[in-house]
Amino acid sequence: MNETKELRSGIYNKGEITLDEIIKSVKNNPKIKNVGSIHVFTGIVRESSKEGKQVKSMKIDSFDDMANITIDDICESLKKKNGIIDVKIVHFKGDFSLSDDLVYVVVGSAHREEGFDAIKNAVDLYKKKIAVWKREDFIDGTSKWIH
């Protein structure tokens, strides 16, 4: 028997939880036998900004209470879709170096098509809706909060 506890989606400190733990939590879902595919999205720190400036590091700030409510809403709304068994969104906050993991989205779906759609929807929604902000710190010493 798998003893991994159900893991809540939401805001966590950097590195507080691993992708493996999230996948294990999805595999521990009581409805796991209905799942035929597990889809994973990992957002990481990119070296260049959208404007092409060279990024040195990144800071993520969050309004945890509001962000956690919205993340739960996104997960619950996606789980109501046909064939979606489980959705987990974990967003980290804190100070990050290049290539560090910022966010994980894990979807367990009956079939791959629903899973691909759900993971795209989940990413589109969290980027637009959750109370999280990122600041790019550039190698020239300047910084910019992204909106």
């Binding site: 720190v45 409510i69 967003h91 109370a131 999280v132 902000w133």
Partner: protein, 93 residues
Amino acid sequence: MLVEVLYFAEFKDITKKDTEKFDLSSKNLKELIDLLIKKYDPMLELLLDKKNESLSNNISVIVNNKPIHGQDVLSIFLNEGDKIALLLPVSGG
């Protein structure tokens, strides 16, 4: 009447604080905005529109974890102990 302001992103950088308490006499949001701008110059550009007449369209007002909607948001009344957050558009990672 004391209220608490929660700072995020640029606001945290400007104030170097996570939260701050303000003593209001008129009990409305406009007084709080005026106090913030008076204390922290860079907040003027972030909080108000170009004519400095109303709250910027970029700002979302949250009171006690609930979004406040409506055109005349500056006139909303606040209560003792309210927690107010002024949020700029989000940018998830």
